[in-house]
Symmetry: C2
DNA sequence: CTACATTAAATGTATCTACATACATTTGCC
DNA sequence: GGCAAATGTATGTAGATACATTTAATGTAG
């Protein structure tokens, strides 16, 4: 983990600059662990994310647009992610009868099955962040949200 | 910013799960702003990152391997990033005479110039996180580092 | 010195990201 | 109804990510 030392060594012009790097680096560190896990189950991170959102719908279909709104990466291409999941028979696509522009995406039983297999290892991974305790996690959550709210991102 | 509300609404199984999502989301939010800025200068985030690392070398060349070690995204492809930067004449590649497997990468004056143009806007962007103060930023930095240190990532 | 392992970088491949564009459908206005 | 604007999705493209494999140079054991 050499950027770990790098972050320490570097003379940062400000605490904010360090924070930006730290957030990038931590997300990357978490992402690698997630990807590695997903990979074992033939999924990718973004694909897993979509399946999890769909499961949250409890059977109700969701339009692609609604999916995009809930995705972590909004600019990523939901259409093509749904393509991949459809190939694997984890989701179904159906043209919405009320508005034929829309496509209703639903998770299949196969999709639910793979998710349930992933639940335990994913939770383990997340709970594995044991260097910080619950109070610290709460504090970080509050600070991360405060951080995003603050500025004038048009 | 609909995931913002999503994060709030969702019943998280744990504070840790929320933290993971929050870190992903914040990194993404920061990354979009960075990318937008880099784009105006014909660079991408990773390319900028490499240039900044090379500038830190103060003229000393660096092998591709050394670059990878210092990159935020280690698994990204340093060779090809250096390709792009070489095309733009921002770096030079030279086979190392002592070990001809290695390639010495150096930043050019053009590379230094584009970086100096970017310094101000990048700093502005980072300093723009004004919803949290310096003490909070320090706290977050400490917690993020603690978070990464804690667990048994093999 | 040959044989084999190791190392450094490049290349290959699949997927994802970011953004532009195309196309069909729907909506709103006249 | 007819037409322009908006909407929803798909497609195109360039570049990045993640990981496996290849190529070339070096190191090392026998």
């Amino acid at each position: 983990m050499s950027l770990e030392e790098d972050i320490k060594q570097t003379r940062f012009t400000s605490e904010y600059q360090k924070l930006v790097l730290n957030v990038f680096y931590t997300a990357n560190w978490l992402g690698l662990q997630h990807n590695q896990l997903m990979r074992e189950y033939g999924l990718t991170g973004p694909q897993f994310n979509i399946l999890r959102i769909l499961r949250g719908q409890k059977g109700k279909p969701m339009s692609v647009n609604a999916l995009i709104e809930r995705m972590l990466d909004k600019s990523s291409n939901a259409s093509r992610l749904v393509d991949k999941l459809e190939e694997k028979r984890y989701v179904l696509r159906k043209v919405c009868p009320n508005d034929r522009r829309q496509v209703e995406v639903t998770i299949t039983q196969g999709g639910l099955d793979i998710l349930s297999k992933l639940d335990k290892p994913v939770t383990d991974l997340e709970e594995n962040i044991k260097g910080i305790n619950i109070e610290e996690a709460q504090l970080m959550n509050a600070l991360l949200e405060k951080m995003r709210k603050s500025n004038n991102t048009q």
